[in-house]
Symmetry: C2
Subunit: 199 residues, 2 copies
């Protein structure tokens, strides 16, 4: 016995998503067919519409439906500071802090010689152009705290510093509300290195 073809295809569709195993795919598929037909068509349309409308911002490479994203086209934000992130979703995470009023640049990945990801694959040449053309004074690097993120940060620093621009990286340390007891030694080591003077 096997599932009807269309059901199996639906399960396979969900199963093709990252982090969705066979059981979850099955659960999602059964949920979907339990919905009213109009609801399913609405979902299908949302998928196709998002794929059709979304493109990369011509300036920062975040997702947008326009030529430029709403941050790049916001004249109220300063263009002297660029925050470099790996992924478009990181933009929203940074925005949630409410503390950054500059612009962004999305690399869409991190340097990884093993996987053949070099500076050209990461919109880095476009970042350097922006730094030169937009009068940037500081580049804040917010790549992930892992090997690839570290390598990308070092590379960017070597490229940007000679342009006479300040390059910083967001701090490593303990998560707020965390417990020293549960911090791993690497994080704690970094937190110690990056200690700041108390007034």
């Amino acid at each position: 016995m096997h599932y009807p073809q269309s059901l199996q295809e639906l399960i396979n569709t969900f199963n093709s998503f990252p982090g969705v195993g066979p059981k979850t795919a099955q659960r999602l598929a059964f949920y979907l067919i339990s919905l009213p037909g109009e609801e399913v068509e609405k979902m299908a349309r949302a998928m196709v519409k998002a794929k059709k409308r979304l493109r990369y911002c011509s300036r920062c490479f975040s997702f947008t439906e326009e030529e430029q994203c709403n941050i790049c086209s916001d004249t109220g934000r300063n263009s002297f500071t660029i925050c470099v992130v790996q992924h478009p979703r990181d933009v929203l995470v940074m925005e949630k802090t409410g503390q950054f009023k500059g612009k962004y640049h999305v690399l869409h990945g991190a340097l990884s010689p093993v996987e053949g990801v070099g500076p050209e694959e990461l919109n880095i040449p476009r970042l350097l152009e922006r730094i030169k053309n937009e009068g940037v004074k500081e580049v804040i690097i917010a790549t992930n705290p892992n090997v690839e993120g570290d390598a990308t940060a070092s590379y960017l620093s070597r490229q940007i510093k000679p342009l006479g621009v300040r390059v910083t990286r967001i701090a490593f340390g303990l998560p707020v509300g965390g417990d020293l007891e549960y911090a791993d030694e690497l994080t704690l080591g970094r937190a110690l290195e990056g200690r700041i003077e108390l007034e």
Copy 2:
């Protein structure tokens, strides 16, 4: 800052699935828009197609694309034994044991006075009809090993026994409080072997 509208709608779509939180929804949405356009349209079509084609088997209420499912229309299987399950996915789980050669009946739920689910909502009248019309000799109840499943089993037993039909329930080889969907084939096979007579 917020996501472009079509992206937010896509995230909301995924977020509406059971067990898919905001972070996962976001991850799925970003994965989807990273795919080629044809791939996304293929997925959207798979959703709509599954919803349009799938219907309940007129006999056992499992999912099928035909009037009757491939188990009900399989003349090689005996019609004297009906295995009663709560959910269509449970049929496939039972089939994987390779130990059951009869037919199925899918209740699409379990009795739950609290949630207002009575015998009429569960295709139970249709099950009783089938027992009378199809010369059924044994009904194997494979509802979930929890309160609702137990109540459903007792109710079915009280309804079916007076018809002179043997009523059994698969054994508690299953972990109590668990869910049929997550049982492995071996445990389920044992449970099938060890089924006990209901009074």
